[in-house]
């Protein structure tokens, strides 16, 4: 193999130049390669955003049809009516993201540094839940958190539920149909999206850095604080984004594990679109959610200083 690769007199540094030079018409190749896929994304991803924006400023009724009337008041009405659901989405998704980080970091660390020959097995076990439909797995939480079940009884005996009831996360002896159940479901559903990026960035860390820190009399805690954690920041940033964004738009957990008091903005968009058929309000809500998330993500990425992530 090596003799073959050494044959060209001056090995070119850029791969593209050498292969493209002989053929002039090759210049159009990238555009032909991009065209079908990008067309698909433009027509079925970008264009719908325009339609959604236009729907949000329409007025009318299902019978007479909707017309664009530049009725921006829909946005104010939507915000005035549904700000609690927006707030809940941010709070629940934020809590789930923090829990995912707290739960996911030790497991990612375990896979990267302590699993040894079991590394691939543990990795498969992290991905394995994906193989069963997430709706079926979310329904399983109804059994796990059922009233009077072992989990709830244990939490009760440890007086955990007293504390969570006091801050309004649970309701007396119940966990199901409370905010805690929804947060628990969100955390569970998006945990692998936190673990995998964390693992990827931890795995890249040179083990000798840990030894060096140890040689310089750093305690394990200091090593973690000054070496391991800062180096895993790219994983933390992409992990938090990958959990927060889908969690903020989710309505499955709030619907299956929650009650009418735990409805999130996703639930409102879903019912407005599919049951009440109030398209302008639903489109306005969806547009606000999109804008809010894009702004939050941009600010977050800027502040954490990992713009090359994208």
């Amino acid at each position: 193999m090596t003799t073959v690769t050494e044959t060209p007199p001056a090995p070119p540094l850029t791969p593209g130049k050498e292969t493209r030079k002989p053929r002039k018409r090759g210049r159009l190749v990238p555009y032909w390669l991009l065209l079908p896929g990008l067309l698909w994304l433009v027509v079925f991803f970008a264009l719908p955003m325009v339609y959604q924006a236009s729907t949000s400023i329409q007025t009318g009724s299902l019978e007479d049809g909707f017309k664009v009337t530049w009725h921006f008041a829909t946005y104010w009405d939507a915000l005035a009516d549904y700000w609690p659901q927006f707030l809940r989405s941010v709070l629940y998704a934020g809590a789930a993201t923090i829990l995912c980080l707290a739960l996911g970091y030790p497991l990612a660390y375990l896979i990267a540094f302590r699993a040894g020959r079991w590394r691939n097995v543990v990795l498969i076990l992290v991905i394995a839940p994906f193989f069963t439909s997430f709706l079926i797995r979310t329904l399983a939480w109804k059994t796990i958190l059922s009233d009077g079940g072992p989990v709830v009884s244990a939490l009760n005996a440890l007086h955990v539920l007293d504390v969570t009831s006091w801050i309004g996360m649970t309701d007396g002896n119940r966990v199901l149909a409370t905010p805690l159940a929804v947060i628990c479901g969100l955390t569970y559903n998006f945990l692998p999206f936190m673990i995998l990026p964390l693992y990827t960035s931890l795995e890249r860390i040179d083990g000798r850095l840990h030894e060096a820190a140890g040689d310089l009399y750093a305690t394990p805690a200091t090593t973690f604080r000054k070496v391991t954690f800062p180096l895993s920041m790219p994983g933390v940033v992409s992990g938090t984004l990958l959990t927060f964004i889908p969690a903020a738009g989710d309505y499955v957990n709030a619907d299956l594990l929650g009650s009418t008091d735990t409805r999130m903005v996703g639930n409102v968009i879903q019912t407005q679109f599919l049951r009440i058929l109030d398209y302008p309000t639903a489109a306005a809500l969806s547009f606000i959610l999109m804008a809010a998330i894009l702004i939050m993500v941009t600010v977050y990425i800027r502040r954490s200083g990992t713009e090359d992530l994208v």
């Binding site: 990008l38 959604q52 394995a128 193989f131």
Partner: protein, 265 residues
């Protein structure tokens, strides 16, 4: 105190294993409850052991139909997204062209958008066009959101390819087509396969986007969603458990084959 020292050394392992337990507990429950014989319509409380659901997995009306529909949609969505995504990935890695940044953000945005926003906006498009919601609208939507994931997976693989291998092939008088089929494609294959697998899994399990754009068509996730309101048949757990076992076996087989190949080289 040797025990305390041991505990301090292995605290992270213990915490990690607890998280692993949290991740796998629902699968355990799904499996155990596939052997249940519930009293009412809902399969949330343990009653007694029974093999009824396993011996008659299609015993529930419409469930296996929805399963086969989901498999069909996932199959075609995988093919569509893999072809389109691989083409984009090659263009991005191999060529220089204008508006590269715009292309990159158009591919990144669908992954950074909450599903419900994509679902709702796509529905406004279909409503405005007067499209009939059903198989085709689901397929269109699935190809759309799987595309970016395929691009990411294939791009990673093509980027790490040694370009000299292709130059070597051309030095040995292989034409562009021959080089692509005999050298480039086999090297890029693992990335393409990873992208295709991801697309299949995403499409098969998608609920939110399908929920908005399916009309009255019922895929398997839609069936499960509906049954959460009407009553959950045990057969759902049977399908969930079977899928889990098949997938784990496939992954293990792939790993074994990979190991043997590595040894051969």
């Amino acid at each position: 105190m040797p025990f305390v020292r041991w505990l301090r050394r292995n605290l992270v392992v213990i915490a990690g294993l607890i998280t692993l337990g949290y991740l796998l507990l629902p699968n355990l429950v799904v499996t155990v409850f596939s052997f249940n014989k519930p009293k009412g319509r809902f399969n949330y409380e343990w009653q007694q052991f029974s093999l009824d659901a396993w011996t008659n997995p299609c015993g529930v009306a419409d469930m296996c139909g929805s399963l086969s529909l989901s498999l069909q949609i996932a199959f075609w969505a995988t093919i569509g997204a893999t072809i389109l995504g691989t083409m984009i990935a090659f263009a991005l890695v191999r060529y220089r062209f204008r508006a590269r940044g715009a292309v990159n953000s158009l591919i990144f945005l669908p992954m950074a958008m909450p599903e419900v926003v994509m679902a709702a906006s796509l529905l406004t498009l279909f409503l405005n066009m007067g499209a009939q919601l059903g198989f085709w609208t689901i397929l269109i939507a699935h190809i759309m959101f799987c595309l970016s994931f395929v691009v990411t997976a294939v791009k990673a693989r093509v980027m790490s390819m040694d370009p000299r291998l292709e130059q070597a092939a051309q030095d040995l008088y292989a034409g562009p087509f021959q080089t692509f089929v005999r050298v480039t494609l086999p090297i890029a294959a693992p990335g393409i396969a990873a992208g295709a697998l991801l697309a299949f899994a995403l499409s098969f399990d998608d609920f939110i986007i399908t929920n908005f754009n399916a009309g009255s068509t019922v895929t398997f996730p839609m069936f499960v969603w509906g049954s959460a309101q009407r009553g959950t048949p045990v057969q759902i757990n049977v399908i969930g458990t079977a899928m889990f076992i098949v997938a784990v076996l496939l992954v293990l087989a792939a790993m074994l084959v990979g190991k043997r190949k590595n040894k051969a080289v």
